[in-house]
Each structure stands twice: as C-alpha cells, then as structure tokens.
C-alpha cells in the first residue's frame, strides 16, 4: 500500500519532470545568486546501515549474504522547482563507494537560489559518456568501474558472499547501455512534500538512503541459488529494474541548514 502510493507519487513527479524538460533555463538569476546543495548517501540494508565484510543480511526472499564491495554511479542530477523550471547540474558525475566515506558526500556547487521541490538523477552513466574516450575524476577507468572488453561503465557493483550461491560468491556488475540490455536508469525520489530552500547563505542537505535489499526484490525477485553472477545482459536489466522501480533510493530527510 505504502509502496503503491509512493510509486504513484514518483510517476507524477516523473511526468512533471518530462513535461518540463524543454524548459531547462533558469530564471535569469544573476550568477552571484547561487548556493550549495549537499547530498549524503547512506547505504543501508533494510533498516540497518551497511557494514562491508562484517554485516550479515537476509534478502526479502530469505537468502543470507554479506557485502564486500558496493559502488555505484550517480549522474546527471537535476533539481526541479514548483513552477516546473529545472536546474541541470553541468558535468554531473559521482562515484559512491561504500569503502570511502568521502565519496558518500556529493556537493553541488553554484545551484541557483530558489525553492526546489524535486530531484532527478541517473543511476549509472549516460550513453554519451560511456563511449566518450579517456575521462578523469569519477569516470577515470582507474576506479575499477570500467569494462575494457565491451567498453563502458559498470553502473552498480555489488560483490559479496552467500551460502545459497552455487560457488559461494556474489558478483553483480550491472552494466550495459545498448538495446535490448540497457541498464541506465533515471529516478526521481520524492522529497515527500519538503522544500529544498537554496540560499546564498544556506546549504541544505538531502539525506538519501540506498537500500541494497531493493536490488534483489521488486519486479524480479532474485534468489542467489539461481542468480549469483550478473555482468550485463538480461539479468542485469532485471536488477536495474528492481533498483529503479523498487525505489532503492529514498529521501530520508532534508536538512534546511
């Protein structure tokens, strides 16, 4: 019930976002009227904070697992105002790595001041950057998130163990951006009615939770006995559908600061 109501809300937001994608000009605010938005990504397993290696978890379907690596790309962040206008962050690429606390803090500089009511971002990397050649920063292939033999980025990487997995290991490298196995997903987690007020002297913070369990539940329930390794293809599409449609990313709260 709760989920379906949320889904409806996301749908509404997505439609709103789509309806106004043509108007990505801001309100001609002078360049000095900008503030900062901070995003905190908290990776969780259900209601528990994710602990690499030591944490022991159970999927909705009852499979036990541990997590040794959890990394994902967030890109193309957009903030929407109530009037339908949108701020599109330029060069917007972040790699969140559970093993690196600093990477969980995303700082958006030079956001035009205003009252924002929604956010949209891509889980993964857009197709353009997947084929764009040598890259730096979050997209540096040194980050172990780049496939060389079928070049392109791994959008979400989860590795771990499970007694239910055939060989004991879990390897989920969700990647691929070409039809019919495109795993690029764009989501618009709800602010739940809160307004993000960006001012020159206020840096509000959006606190997200990313729930690992959502990778394995949702439209396509995953049992590790039958699926413990996914590197692109149909199974990666199923997991991408799980974490996008099932709402892996939720806004826990917004600090006005």
């Amino acid at each position: 019930m709760f989920f379906s109501r949320l889904s409806a809300l996301w749908l509404a937001l997505t439609i709103t976002a789509f309806a106004f994608t043509g108007c990505d000009k801001d309100d001609n605010t002078p360049t000095d009227s900008v503030g900062e938005v901070d995003i905190e990504m908290e990776n969780v397993v259900g209601s528990t904070p994710l602990a690499l290696n030591t944490g022991s978890y159970t999927t909705a379907a009852g499979d036990q697992f541990t997590v040794t690596t959890f990394k994902y790309y967030i890109s193309n962040i957009k903030l929407q105002k109530a009037d339908g206008t949108e701020y599109v962050q330029p060069d917007s690429y972040y790699l969140v790595n559970q093993a690196d606390d600093a990477s969980k803090h995303l700082s958006l500089k030079e956001v035009p001041v205003g009252d924002y009511t929604g956010i949209t971002f891509t889980i993964g990397v857009d197709s353009t950057r997947n084929v764009a050649g040598a890259q730096t920063g979050a997209l540096d292939p040194s980050n172990s998130m780049f496939w060389t033999w079928d070049s392109g980025y791994i959008f979400v990487k989860l590795e771990g163990t499970s007694p239910q997995a055939a060989k004991g290991g879990l390897v989920f490298h969700i990647a691929g951006f070409q039809h019919p196995y495109n795993t690029i997903r764009t989501v618009s987690p709800s602010f739940n009615g809160t307004t993000l007020m960006v001012r020159t002297d206020h840096s509000p913070e959006i606190h997200f939770q990313a729930d690992v369990l959502k990778m394995f539940a949702g439209p396509n329930q995953v049992r590790f006995a039958t699926l413990s390794n996914s590197m692109g293809g149909a199974s990666s599409v199923q997991i991408a559908d799980n974490y996008s449609k099932g709402g892996m990313f939720t806004v826990a709260h917004i600090h006005a600061n």
Partner: protein, 352 residues
C-alpha cells in the same frame, strides 16, 4: 542559433578536407605528425583530428608508449610485439596473438591502420572509442596482463616519462587520461593512404593500374564492395561470412550484444595492405589471399546468421568466381599495398 553553431564547424571540416590535403607524404616536412592531414579520398573520420589535436611531442610520447614493453606485466610484451609495422601493424605468421608468458590469445591480431575512421574496434566491436581501446589489451590476461594502476606506477617511476608527460599535459603525476590520450596520438596517426590504388584514384603520379588490376577493380566493385566499402575497404559492419556453421568456439559479435542474430558475426576487415596481413579471418585460418577467395567461391557454410549477400538467387552459397576472376581480384588487392606506410620511419620504434 544552435543550428548555425553546428553548421560552422561542419563547414570548417569540409574546408579542411578539401583544401589542406597533401596526401603525398614525400612532400611533407618531417615535423608534420603522420596522419594529421586526412586523405582526400576517405570519408569523414569517427575520431576527428580536433578531438586530440596532433602535436609532435604528444605523438612521440604515444610512439614510445606503443613500443614500450614496460606496459605489460612481464616487461616483455609491447603493443608493437603483436602489431608489427612491416605487417601493417598486424601480427605476421601468427594465427592467434601471443601475450605474456607465451599465452595464446583467442583471435588473430588485426592490422592497425586508419583507426581514426572506426567507431568500434576488435573483431567483435567491444571497444567503442580509440582512446579507451588500449585498456583491453593492457589488462587482458592472455595479452599484456597488467593493471592500469601498475602501468601508471611504472610510468611515474620511469626516469624520462614524467618530464615528457608534464611537457605535453602540464600536470603530474601521469594519470590514465594522459596515458590514453598520448597512446591515441600514435594510434590515430597510423594512416595508410598511399598505395598505388590511392595514387590511381587521386590521379597522382605513379597511379597507373594494369589491365588485370583494372579488371580486378571492376570485379571488386561488383562482388566485394558492398561490405568492403569506400576507400577504407570496410563498411565497419559485422557479418557472418560462412566460415562455420556453429559458433561454440567464438560467438563473435554476439559476445558483446548477447543477441542470437549476432552469433558468428565478425567485423568486416579493411583490405588495405591485405598482401601483408596474413593470416586471415578472426582466427587466422587462411594463410593466403587465394585461400580466402576459394572460401568465398566454394567454401561458404550455411547457418541461420549467414549474411544474405552470400546467398545467391539459385540457392548456391558464396560468390561465383572463375579462376580468371580470382586472379584479377588478387592483382587488384595487391595494388592496396602501401609501402610508404610500412616504411615510414616516424611510425617505427625509435632505436636508441
């Protein structure tokens, strides 16, 4: 407004293509980076010159890297080990590539030529950008078997690389971006466009073809040029040319796309320098061009993904070729050999 902005660089490119070309390398001063002037008889490139503007210092850096065995785990295999200039940067006499510790690859190392015009690479089209391509052989366990991190550590610890990279890119330490951009300066420079055939189509000195070669050219246009298209001699597509009827050994393009309709499809290779790039096909199964023509004439095997162009109206597979036609085709193919390319001292390993 936006449209105007798009049109302007387009016009600039056309201008470059039509006015700036001195395809005869004989008349170029040595200071010009090879391949930085595009041949007039080629289509528009996939990797524009402006995408990584050639400079002599960056090109020379890429050239040193290309021939440097430090890039492999064992310090014994360089890019140039499997891509030899005298073979148009293919691997002569090797059906499959030989990597570190004599590990055998799964496919025939292709010629490296006119890469600037390709939008994807390898027999299966996996790598999609010239700049990121080297990451595949660098990290492949049966090729150079090294990690990107280790390569960068070795380069940064080298007595000469850091200074050369800083001179080109202005910052240190050497990172993956600098490494890949420098390598692309060299790989993009590998332009073969000075065969006798090229002189013929550009109506330059030395561009005469014999009667047999001209007959071969006409046959080629009729029977081969749909796939081996333009003066690049490839349409850059993937096709099943009837080598096998099942594809358990190598699924080809399907390895990348994961769809059945691509089973057994491989990249149509350019035929430039074909006389130098034996053995032939993705697994190097044919030793001579005559064997290749025999395959098309009488060796094509059926399978669900066989290219429709190899099905004749009467149900026969392959291409109908008489002995005379094969002989003329071989004569024509030999006109695509570019001695200037394989002897260009600027593309060779610099001897200390």
């Amino acid at each position: 407004m936006k449209r105007l902005l798009l049109v302007l660089p387009g016009l600039g490119l056309v201008g470059l293509l039509t006015t700036n070309c001195h395809p005869d390398a004989d008349v170029q001063p040595l200071a010009v980076v090879p391949g930085s002037v595009l041949p007039t008889n080629f289509p528009a490139p996939a990797y524009a010159v402006e995408a990584n503007p050639p400079t002599l210092a960056a090109f020379e850096l890429g050239r040193t890297l290309f021939y440097d065995p430090q890039l492999s785990r064992t310090g014994k295999i360089s890019c140039g080990s499997c891509h030899q200039q005298f073979a148009a940067f293919a691997n002569a006499d090797h059906r499959l590539s030989h990597g570190v510790d004599s590990r055998l690859g799964t496919r025939n190392a292709p010629a490296l030529q006119n890469l600037r015009w390709k939008s994807n690479f390898f027999w299966d089209g996996g790598p999609k950008n010239l700049e990121t391509l080297p990451l595949a052989p660098l990290t492949n366990p049966v090729e150079m078997d090294e990690t990107l991190g280790n390569v960068l550590r070795k380069l940064n610890a080298d007595p000469s690389y850091p200074g050369r990279f800083t001179a080109v890119y202005g910052s240190s330490p050497i990172d993956s971006y600098q490494l890949l951009r420098a390598l692309a300066q060299f790989t993009a420079s590998l332009t073969s466009a000075n065969s006798r055939y090229d002189h013929y189509v550009r109506q330059e000195a030395g561009g005469t073809l014999s009667a047999a070669e001209l007959s071969g050219r006409a046959l080629f246009s009729a029977k081969c040029a749909t796939c081996h298209r333009t003066d690049l001699f490839s349409d850059d597509s993937f096709r099943n040319n009837g080598l096998d009827s099942s594809f358990a050994a190598d699924s080809g393009r399907a390895r990348i796309t994961r769809v059945d309709k691509d089973l057994g499809l491989f990249k149509v290779p350019s035929l430039r320098n074909a006389t130098l790039t034996a053995p032939y096909m993705h697994d190097g199964r044919f030793q001579t061009l005559a064997q290749v023509l025999d395959h098309y004439a009488s060796g094509v095997l059926d399978s669900p993904t066989l290219d429709p162009l190899l099905r004749q109206a009467d149900g026969k597979l392959g291409l109908s070729l008489t002995a005379q036609e094969k002989s003329d085709l071989l004569a024509f193919l030999a006109t695509l050999t570019d001695e200037q390319f394989i002897k260009d001292a600027q593309l060779a390993q610099r001897r200390p």
